[in-house]
């Protein structure tokens, strides 16, 4: 509080906040600098790009699930509907989209199987089971099931 006729003495000059400095000003502290994070932060490192692609792969998974539902609906509506579905699927655009979706699905599956040994710390007699013994059987099952589906489709 200032007394009459006496201006309050400033302890130290308060920095005038400018457009650049205002958001980083921290009250009662030295002014910390908070580095801004760019929208494209993930482009700076291959591991981050891989991570973003893996996150994006969920869109491909959703697309494939939706496509499967549409396919089941077409089958349930009879031969004509299914022929129309197959015709739509044979368009170059659809084939291109599905090739991309397939690539993302592979990425999704492989990163998922590789994650499993990280999440499962199985110990037998005090020794941690090596990751390959956890992810290996999953890859084997994946290959086996894929082979069975291929066999059914090709020998139909």
């Amino acid at each position: 509080m200032s007394r009459a006729g006496q201006a309050p003495a400033p302890i130290r000059p308060t920095p005038t906040p400018t457009q650049e400095t205002a958001p980083t000003y921290t009250e009662f502290h030295p002014r910390w600098y908070r580095p801004p994070i760019s929208t494209y932060w993930w482009l700076g490192k291959s591991a981050y790009v891989k991570f973003i692609l893996r996150e994006l792969s969920s869109v491909a998974v959703a697309w494939t699930v939706a496509l499967l539902l549409v396919q089941i609906r077409a089958i349930s509506r009879g031969g004509d509907a299914y022929t129309r579905f197959l015709h739509r699927m044979s368009s170059p655009w659809m084939i291109a989209i599905n090739i991309i979706a397939f690539a993302f699905l592979m990425l999704h599956s492989i990163t998922w199987f590789n994650l499993a040994p990280k999440a499962m710390a199985v110990r037998i007699r005090g020794i941690r089971v090596p990751g390959l013994l956890i992810s290996g059987p999953q890859y084997m099952a994946w290959i086996a099931i894929s082979a069975i589906i291929f066999a059914i489709v090709l020998t139909r």
Binding site: T18, W32, F51
Partner: protein, 250 residues
């Protein structure tokens, strides 16, 4: 003997003077036994005494000298200068933290997060009530996660820590798991309240970089994924057998 020189670009920031950090160049001799920290001390002693950085033990124990070295989080005392020849080497403060000055970052937010996961033994008899015996295999369960030196390299590597400041983050979550896995501890349920929150384990999207940069091989990413699995199993168990759960509580 002719000692090679290397250019170091060191981030400078004075809160009173600069609106944002800038890089200052220094020429530093590369002695074969020198690490990044030796080079910074050389700059401070011989070239510019105003350079500010944290360091203490110079042997990978205190966790003070974490910097971004060519955009990778590294311990200054454990990173040889010669591996960056012919240079230049860019040294910046750890990412995802506010900068106080030059290479010094503000870590009080982390210390608050650390406290929230209760990284200490919780036992119904209280602590210090006597000895708690532990077998070597029980020790082995959590030993890896107990090696953390709080150097915060994992926070600098974790993009989620930068994008979502409320995320508890790798080191604190790994330390929580270290106590959860300790046979002497009974606090897993108490910690579950904070860990199973979206700010806790579910904030982690498993980028995995925390584990890659950890100088002590603590594997925070692994600890978090293991805890996710345990929390999910617990959730399923409670959903399928709510009666069994109640009996346990009685």
């Amino acid at each position: 003997m002719n000692i090679p020189m290397i250019e170091m670009q060191v981030a400078r920031y004075s809160p009173e003077r600069d609106a944002q950090p800038y890089l200052q160049r220094f020429e530093v001799p590369v002695k074969p036994e020198w690490v990044i920290l030796d080079a910074l001390n050389y700059i401070k002693d011989k070239l510019d005494g105003t350079l500010t950085f944290r360091w203490s033990c110079r042997m990978g124990i205190c966790g003070s000298c974490g910097y971004m070295v060519n955009n990778e989080p590294k311990l200054g005392c454990a990173t040889f200068l010669s591996q960056y020849l012919p240079g230049p080497i860019k040294i910046e403060p750890l990412s995802n933290f506010p900068v106080v000055r030059d290479l010094v970052v503000e870590i009080s937010e982390f210390l608050e997060k650390l406290k929230r996961v209760k990284p200490w033994l919780i036992h119904e008899n209280g602590n210090g009530a006597g000895e708690y015996l532990q077998t070597p295999s029980q020790l082995e369960e959590f030993r890896q996660h107990s090696m953390c030196i709080n150097c915060l390299l994992c926070y600098a590597a974790c993009p989620i820590s930068g994008l979502d400041p409320v995320f508890i983050g790798p080191a604190a979550l790994a330390l929580a798991q270290r106590y959860n896995k300790d046979s002497r501890d009974q606090g897993a349920e108490e910690r579950m309240a904070i860990l199973s929150h979206p700010e806790g384990i579910w904030g982690c999207t498993f980028v995995g970089e925390c584990t890659k940069v950890c100088p002590k091989h603590v594997d925070p990413a692994g600890a978090i994924q293991q805890y996710k699995l345990a929390a999910a199993m617990e959730g399923i168990k409670q959903f399928l057998m709510p009666w069994g759960q109640r009996q346990e509580e009685r």
